[in-house]
Symmetry: D2
Subunit: 343 residues, 4 copies
């Protein structure tokens, strides 16, 4: 079969590779029908993620059809259409029993990282009963593939960790794919106002289309303070991953407010406890557990969210190298999420 | 009457001052029977709290008897024995209606800060209906005075903000008065283990007496990791207020764990988001709201907590200058909390 | 002034009465600009509410302008446009401090019950600081008057007590005014499905307009089981107040589900613990606290709810007797809520 | 091997039966070292539980040693000392993923009910990874066996469903084994007062030993109202299972309070919604999920609870018929829980 293989910093090829097989009784092999590329894949290609070794197939998002199952798999049979969670979870360790799949003692984010991933014609999924989700028959794949990672991340690490409540004023710093996913899922909890902050006007226009009530391209601290009569916001989400954007969050959160960190940070930040110790704030961090995939699927079926709007570009699966080229120039190409379809 | 008056950095005297009077219909004047000294009072004396102007009577803790009430006061009458909350709250602004008294728009921590405090023979208490609590007849004053500030702070900003749960492993960094108050109130929620961390062996001995299951005087990160099989702790409370102790907290909190910051910080800290972004942790900060005073009073009446054990030294109220001398050498004098009694 | 006065079962007149005056320092007198009629007013007229004595002015909902304030009132001044909460609360008793205004020790539901109410040209509001809410300048009065009682009741006793969560299947038994208010506010929490149950097809049509995904006019237990593959619903709200409708709730709630009782019951019901003891369900009851009025007002301002759609008929205030005639034949007249406007 | 077999109402014998074997890859066979008898076993013997067919081995509590495992079992190996949960759970259905093991689609309470149970020399445990818990080396078996059912039931269905909070006044109606287990676990949450209600003075004496602050043998409604100044209790637990005791609960719960139903009810009860609709109360029911077994085990190890105090009588496993005789005359024999030990 073909797979997108990492060969060290800056090097990736769509090349032949042996098809995966069942290694453990709880495994399934899934033929990929759709996949996408995540910002994290670009980080890997920069060499920033040391756990990814050369020879690894990338990708941790996707849809497919079950081709083979181990004898310990109970929830699926061959031929089932499935959604692949970006997080693999055994379902029986202490973390899994608490719903903390990201910290599974025999899983977590390993796809396209410690084991071969989904940017291929087929993938082996360990602990299939807990790591795959049956796709409803008529679900639009452009929407469904967003449930592998980006929508649950926006939801769990943005909206839920931010404890968005009815009537809140929410700010999201960063209007890229993950910020927009946070925006879409924040709306489930009916805040009064969602302020998107990003220097890129294209992305802010997209944010307004997806339900942002206010957008800010420059001087975000002043602008938020003006919009909120100097009070600041109830919830702020960091969706970039650098010290400057975390700093904005600290400056605009109001007393009693929440900071939800979604961004992947490569270095430490300065945390202004000399101001914040007295402000009764909460900061939360986290990797997605994807334990909200079932409920997101119900909402998607009910028409309560339209994640397909995040898909800006479409490719055939074997055009994936071209897709990487587009995604790595996201701003210029106005790329948000790409859909890759196997034919 | 006599009062302990601040006259600029390093300068305080027990001196004559006019007795306070009712200024607003919701005020009460309380004759002080007992008070104590807080670590914050020492910070004020160093000149670290710029809102405190020379001429101010210090103190924000105390018990007393209502001597005079404004015509808008409904909950109290002259002669009532009362506990004074360190936080004044109007009860009718948006923050107060949410129980966030620390951020009251006409109050907050103002006693002994923006207005004259409790280290005096009498004090004016604004918004008496929300800022005073009736004392049960037979309550030990040594215990009761701990409910003005230190016990609710340990409880709200330590145990509640740390979300201590049944069976948790909790670490408290700093075994001074506030760390010990956090220890006492953490026990309400039945953790399996409470680890106290402090270089002072006297304070650790006190912690063991008050219910710590483990104590650590040096190399706290290694020691905690050994005690927890490398997992770290479910909850860690910062009860010192310097970057080094906040750093210990970041290093020993486990995935999914909580950091509750109780310490008063004078400068920013380095926050290791490069490690913590992936760990699903929560950091909370806060000034005490004292909205748990009523429940703490019920527990105290029921014999469920013994805060009088925190009282290490006793003085007459007019010996307060001597008490300050002792408290400012807390380590040498083995001082925890001091009880000052008017005669 | 004129007022709608109760003179015993079945007897009410729009008649002259002395204008109310300030009786306590925390009172305000409000000139009524808009009011409405509640189903409870009809119960009173049947003689079902023994606390209402002949001579009482009815009504507990309304908007107006502050005409006079006691000297203890801080949040309002003469001329302020205000919303009147159906629940009066002192703000300083133990229940009020916990946000349980319905059980205020010097208030609760007393307007148009134990004291004269809002169906008059003016009304005295005790504890004005906690019982009135400032109206934003451009708020549509048809919408705003729904915030006195019916919208907070649907929200607090329906959506919040039912613990509606993202993706839930919710059933509401009773599509009258309160059932429809529960429907509008349930939508804040993004359930996947809202099933309205009522024998009246007009009311079901209204429910569909307001966002119901399914409606059931007959055989509700079978119909719900068919719609839910035999599982039952996550949340069911009782919005009628009779044993038969409570019974439906018990039959359609799924394991782990919630029953929120909104209906006003005149007699006991049979509770099927022989089936339900094993089903891990929750039943909640309650009188509205109206402590969510501020957040509902923010949502209304942000365009997130359209309660004005509940207004089916409009009258001048002095046509109130005619309005009562219409409202007491609600089904025939297709009446939901009536708006009475003073001129 | 020997097993205690049900042969229809009133008939049970300790008799030979084939030893269980692995039937599914996720099964384990456990050699029983300790077991006990539950009140539910007596109900079964009365013929009250129609799912139990003649020929069934009874019992759903116990400790043992793993003798054989299916190839899909990952958490255990032969020789491991284990605690058996009374609830079997697959860990991968929708209910299990939400922690609702009692409603597992391939499990729930089936041991000694739909499949052979633990009152035998060996038992087959389906879904062993989720239904067994490793025993710490030095745990007292008298204490540990209480974690199969009675302690998690008291905890989850009593203390947690009752939402016991710091400083609450709690009443428990019924001071039998389950009421006492509720008492022990309620103490984890530091209520100010625990009132036990039971006509049997022996059981009340036991309750006082285990931490009850007040006990009531007769006229419970009046007595509770006297103890609480007419307010009623914050939390009341029904630990009997008949209409009269549920009625007591309704009469003594205060506004805003909680009723936790633990009792197994054979018929419906009269629910006084005509009084309670206005009182903002919560009623919860449930079968135990046993998902708190791990935390209870940590607390037991830490010395935070002493369930061994519930053991009133000890027998050898092959004396089980005699043990049943004693347990069926619990009041006369002052029996609470019996420990049966295999030799």
């Amino acid at each position: 079969m073909k797979a997108l293989v990492y060969h060290g910093p800056g090097q990736r090829t769509w090349e032949d590779k042996p098809k995966p097989t069942i290694e453990h009784p709880t495994d399934a092999v899934v033929r990929i029908t759709h996949t996408t590329i995540c910002g994290t894949d670009l980080h890997i290609l920069k060499g920033d993620v040391p756990t990814v070794e050369p020879g690894r197939t990338l990708g941790h998002e996707g849809l497919g059809v079950v081709e083979e199952i181990g004898e310990g798999v109970a929830n699926f049979t061959v031929g089932d259409p499935v959604l692949i969670s970006c997080v693999t979870s055994c379902g029986r360790c202490d973390y899994c029993k608490r719903g903390m799949y990201a910290h599974c003692r025999d899983g977590g984010w390993i796809l396209g990282n410690m084991i071969d991933g989904t940017q291929a014609e087929a993938v082996r999924i360990p602990h299939a009963d807990n790591s795959l989700y049956r796709l409803p028959p008529d679900m639009d794949p452009s929407a469904a593939v967003m449930l592998s990672d980006i929508l649950p991340t926006g939801h769990e690490i943005g909206a839920l960790n931010g404890e968005v409540r009815l009537g809140d004023t929410v700010a999201i710093v960063g209007s890229g794919p993950i910020g927009l996913a946070a925006l879409l899922t924040t709306r489930f909890y009916s805040p009064a106002r969602i302020i998107m902050i990003d220097p890129d006007e294209n992305r802010l226009a997209m944010a307004r289309q997806l339900g942002a009530t206010d957008t800010i391209a420059s001087d975000p601290i002043d602008a938020v303070m003006k919009l909120t009569d100097g009070e600041g916001v109830d919830v702020v989400m960091e969706a970039v991953g650098i010290p400057q954007t975390f700093d904005i969050c600290q400056r605009i959160v109001r007393a009693g407010g929440h900071i939800a960190n979604i961004g992947v940070h490569g270095k430490s930040v300065e945390f202004h406890l000399e101001d914040l110790w007295v402000k009764n704030i909460t900061v939360r961090t986290g990797l997605v557990n994807t334990n909200t995939i079932p409920v997101l699927m119900r909402i998607l079926e009910a028409g309560g969210v339209e994640p397909a709007l995040l898909v800006s570009h479409r490719f055939a699966l074997d055009e994936i190298e071209q897709a990487y080229d587009v995604f790595s120039q996201a701003a210029e190409k106005k790329a948000i999420k790409l859909l890759l379809t196997a034919h």
